[in-house]
Amino acid sequence: MKFKIKISALTFGVVSAACAVLSQVKFSFSPPPAYGVCMVCHARDLVNTLLNRIGPEWWEQAIVSSVALKGLIVTTLGVMLGAFIAAVISGEFKLRFVENVPKAAICGFIVITAGLVISGCPMRLLLRTAYGDWGAAASVVTLILGVFLGTLCLKWQAKRKARRDLKGKAQAELPAAAEEVAAQ
């Protein structure tokens, strides 16, 4: 039985901000400051803590945040669990490939590397901005600039694909018109 609960993005913003702030203020997710929720930092703490504890030969002890010393941080796993429950309840769970797989792999590696340098994901950049970190606010501006250029790239890719599809269709159906398009 599918059960669809409608939640607006505005509600998500308020609830997740409350979770992030409460984590720090009431449940001592600090230091570091503004650490209530972060997909990059908490993922780093999870991986480093696990590998530090298991201690394979090829792994040198990695540094973790002060919060991770108190226990295993499983925020990212919790996000996946909550999303899985929501998807199953609403009947939206479906295994499928959506994006180009090599592109997803490269983007995943680059995003985590850049995120580890700044020790934050977009969510934590916003949380740090709310905390009063002007460096984070400046980083949010450049983040938006990056999104803008990424959007231009997506538009260019879509136009290129549309031109190629049109060219292919024209060549199949209208040879004379296809020659004209090819000449252009």
């Binding site: 796993l77 985590i112 994901c121």
Partner: protein, 193 residues
């Protein structure tokens, strides 16, 4: 199971549930706005930062202990083992302190008073670190857009069965191992300049 584990799991489940039902994405908000002038996800973006600012301020007014809040007005730290990237007035003495990330392995207590290398613009000195962080934020914005979502959205999509997002996350978590093993020293040298 420690308190930190339980709290992080509960908060994660709440955020994941709400993110899946709302289709929320911090990168997608701006992408949709630039493409089709749709502001649905942008409302989530702004509501998050405004609500967080209000909640922090409200808790501060009630007297709750919030370390170094607000960040721009925190007392100078003389002996912490933290490093940070901030804008600062060029004529003030600067020192290095680990701020927002506070990574720790062996506790290092340092008492550094070293001017941070920076670019001087209009009376302000912008540290090279800040420029590096702004550059990395740009990279995150660009490549997250190409990947069709921010890290939160990728986790949500992976949990909803999107196999491309699962590949993203495999290289996301694998990238942590590669970074910690091979890249962390290079980056630390870059940040320390």
């Amino acid at each position: 199971m420690s308190k930190v584990t339980i709290v992080s799991l509960v908060m994660g489940v709440i955020i994941g549930f709400f993110a899946q039902r709302s289709r929320m994405c911090f990168i997608g908000g701006w992408r949709d706005f630039f493409l089709i002038k749709d502001t649905y996800l942008l409302k989530g973006f702004f509501s998050f930062v405004i609500a967080a600012a209000i909640f922090f301020y409200a808790f501060d007014l009630t007297g709750a202990y919030i370390k170094d809040y607000p960040w721009f007005d925190r007392p100078p730290a003389e002996y912490t083992n933290v490093y940070d990237a901030v804008f600062y007035q060029a004529e003030y003495a600067v020192y290095r302190d680990l701020g927002y990330c506070d990574l720790t392995f062996n506790p290092l207590i340092t008492n550094l008073e070293i001017p941070i290398p920076s670019v001087h613009i209009g009376g302000f000195a912008i540290p090279y670190e800040t420029l590096l962080f702004m550059g990395c934020a740009f990279v995150i914005g660009f490549f997250s857009t190409l990947a069709n979502g921010c890290p939160v959205r990728q986790h949500v999509m992976a949990a909803s069965g999107n196999l491309s997002s699962i590949v993203f996350l495999l290289f996301f978590y694998g990238g942590i191992i590669i970074y910690e093993k091979y890249l962390v020293n290079i980056v630390n040298d870059l940040i320390n300049f």
